[in-house]
Subunit: 311 residues, 2 copies
């Protein structure tokens, strides 16, 4: 019984209209595992870092029940680096620099102790690496979740489609859903993904405009929490995915009803993530904060129907 | 006991990526009163049209309980005309042409039989005209709702602020909320409107990204229904306002809890509006369709919390 998270661990330099943070801890696997650790504590990570990645950060993650035995540390190597600049609306950004460094030669090796995982979360990486992970898991997990991005659609579409055909849940943003399917309408895009491409669930992330979950003929919407200030959106999508998969792993309930709850917990995790630069906020909140935040989502979303008044 | 709707009745020419419709019936008061008529049938309209406005359309509205005694028909005059073109995303548009025609000299005259209204919905018009309406209502209605747009913020901000200070509910879009308050964060913008400008409610319309309702320290989010095809967004905001005010008038319940229901009904009305060009769809649906659509929103938005599983 465990959750396996595969993805980058990295350094980021982030420019926002409110300031700049240089060489802070980032990476998909970092955000995903930290967000998931608020819900679940049998988390195994497969990633690759250089010697420059801080030992203290890895210790802090281990203290939260995150096993890092599958993280390759390359002697003398440098960790993956990303630099980006957010626009005023904080919903769009430009990538200023990407240094693959040790990620360029990443060949994921799943430790034997990791292979019996029930939940597998594949963070955004080359589709080839994602496929190499799937091939090393002998017994199919209960739930396989894949995150990816437009870059792989432009450069590795065939391989990406092969990986997508092997997963249960695909998480992408609205533009990527359109690019992947050639359908402008998200409802039509979802139909194509769910009937032709393999996944049983499509989660469309829309940043500050929330997330849509498509399953069979059904659809559920989880809004983003309106905040006084969004400080740094970096990692919000990964925190969302981490909260979602962490809650799914915790409960072991794969129904659509539980998936709705899980994506709201994911939205709660994302809402914390953006309140400070990098991983600071997702590291400092506790289960009480998460509970209070969930109540804010209940108030934001729930209403009494009382149909009898009308008809 | 009645609802007074003041706004334009007009002709529109609409270009969308899917086609073009020329000289079709439009106007804020038309959409608002038609959407409200699905919930409430004591609706009075104040507007102005030319001799070219079809008598059959006015008869069809009267059949739905919409009283048009307050609509001035200018002999030999031409009705207000708007032409616009939607972009591929259907969430933004360019105005190609605006002919004020009879609207240029609109001096609203509220018939005596209309002045005892409990609900007043002021559709988008010059702030001067909106103020002239408010001045003619001797007893303050239970609920006054104001719609406006960026054009008046750019050209008539002082007068607009005077009108805003006299209403209970302000409905604008996200960009207009920023323009009105100078605050980028919608949460901060809402705080400014609710504590400094007069209204008790701020409803921020975000098109396909739903609507936010701010009241005191609280916020509620009503998503837009994801649709296979959005055919023509014209009138969606007015249909939303009409469904909302129609349900408020029907129930007579001014609480925040009932307001939540009302904005979801508004979203249901808007979701029908966009399914065909102009007013066609909002004219043809019935209360059963509205009920079925509401159930789709319940499925889209509701989830069971079951917190005990977590903490």
């Amino acid at each position: 019984m465990s959750l396996l998270v595969v993805g980058t661990m990295a350094f980021d330099t982030v420019h926002t209209p409110f300031g700049k943070a240089e060489n802070i801890i980032g990476g998909a696997a970092t955000y995903i595992s930290l967000a998931a650790s608020h819900f679940y504590n049998k988390i195994n990570v497969v990633s690759i870092v250089g010697e420059d990645f801080p030992k203290e950060q890895m210790d802090a993650m281990r203290e939260r029940g995150i096993n890092l035995d599958g993280v390759q540390v390359v002697p003398g190597g440098k960790s993956f680096f990303w630099e980006g600049k957010y626009h005023m609306d904080m919903n769009s950004r430009d990538t200023l620099r990407t240094d693959l460094n040790v990620l360029a030669d990443f060949d994921p090796i799943i430790p034997d102790s990791y292979t019996k995982c029930d939940y597998l979360m594949l963070g955004n990486l080359t589709p080839q690496v994602q496929m190499r992970v799937i091939e090393q898991i002998p017994i199919r997990p209960k739930l396989v979740v894949l995150d990816t991005m437009n870059y792989w659609m432009e450069n590795e579409m065939d391989m990406l489609k092969k990986v997508i055909s092997k997963v249960d849940v695909l998480t992408i943003n609205d533009e990527e859903a359109r690019q992947l399917t050639g359908e402008y309408s998200l409802v039509k895009a979802a139909k194509k993904v769910l009937t032709e491409m393999g996944p049983r669930y499509l989660i469309v992330k829309k940043g500050e405009n929330g997330a849509l979950v498509f399953y069979e003929e059904k659809v559920f919407f989880a809004p983003a929490l309106p905040l006084e200030e969004v400080f740094d959106p970096t990692g919000a999508g990964d925190s969302f995915a981490g909260g979602y998969i962490g809650y799914m792993a915790k409960t072991g309930d794969l129904t659509f009803g539980n998936t709705k709850r899980a994506v709201v917990y994911g939205s709660a995790a994302a809402s914390f993530c953006v309140e400070k630069f990098g991983i600071d906020r997702i590291m400092e909140v506790n289960s009480h904060d998460m509970h209070d935040r969930l109540m804010e989502f209940v108030n934001l979303m729930q209403f009494d129907v009382e149909i009898t008044k009308m008809w």
